[in-house]
């Protein structure tokens, strides 16, 4: 079965609700939709000096999307914005061009490697990063 893309790490991440809540008065926040499947992700960020103090998500979407949102928010604390963006880029490269995927703190994203073979699901993994970028872009700093 396509269990290869739903490996244990992903199922654990997708079911981890620790960061599944809204932040009151976030420094940055955005919601994005995936028109292809109707999924919707909100990312809230509390930032200090361009570093993340707190990140949370609200996902109405599939397991891949929820797992990706958790992997992002659970590891974002203390990271600077550039690192988050780079993680998104590395994840994109991993899915689209067979790149190695993020290492170190964000190596959870490497678990999405097998999704590379399922083009229609790439956007599920990347949607939280789209929300992140939209939030940072709209921040107005």
């Amino acid at each position: 079965m396509a269990g290869d893309i739903y490996e244990d790490r992903i199922m654990i991440l997708s079911q981890d609700k620790t960061h599944a809540h809204r932040i009151e008065k976030p420094s940055a926040s955005a919601t994005v939709d995936n028109p292809l499947c109707g999924d919707r992700v909100t990312i809230d960020l509390r930032l200090e000096n361009n570093r993340v103090v707190e990140a949370s998500h609200h996902v109405r979407g599939c397991a891949l999307c929820a797992a990706s949102a958790t992997a992002l928010c659970a590891n974002a604390k203390d990271e600077d914005i550039a690192t988050l963006i780079a993680t998104g880029d590395q994840t994109t490269a991993m899915l689209k061009d067979g790149g190695a995927g993020p290492k170190g703190k964000f190596e959870d994203f490497a678990a999405f490697g097998p999704v590379a073979g399922y083009k229609s699901r790439h956007s599920c993994v990347l949607l939280p990063f789209d929300a992140l970028k939209k939030a940072l872009g709209a921040r107005g700093t």
Binding site: M1, A2, G3, G38, R60, C62, A63, L64, Y118, R121
Partner: protein, 410 residues
């Protein structure tokens, strides 16, 4: 006339395919059905022996191609118990509905009313919304019942002297519910309105007598009835078509063109601007003959049995947990073999993806019926839809895979 699922399967080359190490269990027939040899060969034969442009040529290939194209129209007409002139080839259901929304719709005045329902496919909503924006018509929606049927009790309250058209889905692509056409046709005609049916999901299930059914317009697609993509049909009563202006302009639909003025050809060609989808029409003609060659009542029982097995199987899987919510009629009466459900806590795309790992092809999402999804407060469902080549093995593969997917996802 025979009906042997194993023999039928053998006619469909794609069903020999493996998917991720499993035999293909193709249960996405409401999206697109597969094509039997009879259709594939008819198309191939046409393209390699008779291909030419139609209608105006006098050379042998052009004669043969024209004959094949018009014969296909005849086959479709017979399938519908209709006249050939009433069969307009389009590129699909969507373009058939858009044709009516322009040709007929442009004769509507501001304040005229069109009624659709919450059960409609986007193809039968968006063209009317666009007409509303162009012309200032009023668009009304019939609600749906808990069983995923159009709520016909609400019709009386919506029909007025301004109603010009009621356009409803004959068979829902989400719930499988079949409309009781006779129950509405008379009421609609009584206020002087016309009835259009979106028959995309009906046509794979055998010939029927369209003119006596009570509809005035009927739209469907070849690719959902064992025929190629890129071909569809708009049927309408001859006397209605004869009064309708054309929609698209171009070759083949004119009588005479001058700089100042163009006069248009008779039906059906008036509505077929440009080179039509010729080989695709030939394929559709072969597809209706193929459908006709099946024993209709045995095909129907076969699909009812599989639908019942699917419904029962899902109930058993649920084990009374209330995890699986059905979206559609609870029984197999007045429904076609389309079964939609949602699983608490499991996203349809994850279910479809996992089932793909078992070779089972399902569809998940809003199925181009977002208004319906909103009615049931869902973003999507998982849908299994059956065709005559499906077997109990296909249904059982679905149920087995789903059991595993649910335990993993929830």
């Amino acid at each position: 006339m025979s009906f042997d699922p194993a023999a039928i399967r053998a006619e469909f080359p794609i069903l020999q395919r493996e998917v991720r190490g499993h035999p293909l269990h193709y249960l996405d027939n409401a999206a697109t059905t597969q094509m039997p040899h009879a259709v594939l060969n008819a198309v191939h034969d046409h393209e390699t022996k008779h291909r030419a442009n139609v209608l105006r040529g006098v050379h042998t290939l052009a004669e043969e191609s024209t004959e094949a194209y018009e014969q296909a129209r005849g086959h479709v007409a017979r399938f519908l118990s209709a006249r050939s002139e009433e069969v307009i080839f389009t590129s699909g259901t969507t373009s058939a509905i858009n044709l009516v929304a322009h040709s007929l719709g442009n004769t509507f005045a501001e304040g005229d009313e069109v009624i659709v329902s919450d059960l409609e496919h986007h193809s039968n909503i968006v063209p009317w919304q666009m007409l509303r924006d162009r012309k200032g018509i009023v668009l009304k929606f019939l609600p749906v019942t808990n069983e995923g049927r159009i709520d016909l009790d609400a019709l009386d309250a919506l029909l007025t002297a301004r109603t010009r058209l009621v356009s409803l889905v004959h068979v829902s692509n989400v719930t499988g519910a079949e409309l009781d056409v006779r129950a509405v046709a008379e009421k609609i005609h009584a206020v002087g309105a016309k009835l259009m049916l979106d028959g995309a999901q009906r046509m794979a299930h055998g010939p029927f007598d369209l003119p006596t059914m009570g509809a005035d317009f009927y739209a469907f697609s070849g690719h959902k009835m064992y025929a190629p993509n890129g071909i569809g049909v708009l049927w309408a009563r001859q006397e209605i078509l004869e009064d309708l202006p054309p929609f698209q302009g171009g070759g083949e639909m004119i009588l005479a063109v001058t700089r100042e003025k163009t006069t248009f050809a008779a039906i059906p060609h008036r509505f077929e601007a440009g080179t039509p989808p010729i080989a695709q029409a030939v394929g559709l003609g072969a597809a209706v003959r193929w459908i006709e060659s099946l024993d209709q009542s045995r095909a129907e029982s076969h699909l009812k049995a599989l639908t019942g097995r699917t419904l029962d199987g899902l109930a058993t899987l649920d084990k009374g947990r209330g995890l699986i919510q059905m979206l559609g009629p609870s029984g197999t009466q007045a429904r076609m073999p389309v079964v939609s459900f949602s699983v608490n806590g499991a996203h349809p795309h994850d279910i479809c993806q996992m089932l793909d790992g078992f070779g089972v092809a399902l569809r998940g999402g809003h199925h181009c019926a977002q208004i319906l999804m909103d009615c049931f407060d869902l973003t999507g469902t998982t849908r299994a839809s059956l065709a005559v080549y499906n077997t109990t093995e296909d249904v059982d593969a679905l149920l087995t895979g789903l059991d595993q997917a649910i335990s993993r996802l929830t």
